[in-house]
Amino acid sequence: MKSQQCFFKQNNIQHIDYKDIDILKRFINPHGRILAKKRSGVSAKNQRNLALAIKRARFMALMPFVAR
């Protein structure tokens, strides 16, 4: 059986919070773009929630829209 890839499932995180910058930072590249699920290894459901959380964090200026 293939081992669990999804970071949020591995760590039993039910709800992805936009204020949790330490976690969200793992899923953006140096330009500030959201990693594709191919690269992030996050499950489809969590990838959708992750993208929403990052977009909220960007709106609140906790994360950059563009960097570098």
Partner: protein, 159 residues
Amino acid sequence: MEENATKEQGRVYEIGFHIAPIVGDENVAHEVSGIKALLEKAKVEVVSEDFPRLRALSYPLSKKIKGAKKIFTECYFGWVKFEVNPEAIREIEKEVEKLENVVRFLIIKTVKENTLYGAKFAAKERMSFKKPDVVKKDEPKVEVDVVEVDKAIDDLIVE
């Protein structure tokens, strides 16, 4: 997303907000109580909150305060999690918009439980950088006879 709330209980929402740094450290509490007064007017039940802390922004935010456009590169960011009847949320939003020192805010649907895990992972990662112990337990200790070693060295030098 999380449809666990019934109509009588209300739903759990969260308001995150940036307070302009021009208010100063001593007046932040006053601003927060202003926001909380609005919430209380809408008969909310506060679940949890975090007192605003000054933090750097990823990009500058601007807001017209007393007729002049002000640009901020840092703000006091705080949040309040509360339970309220969904019909009241639009009213809260309109009221918060009127507050002059709130540079930006966001109201989202959320859950009652704690949703912040970042600190936990930061601690975990610091732990994982710890160097492993150098001593290997499995390796048998080799007894070194000093006299014999000296002899061997002497032999090598003579040759």
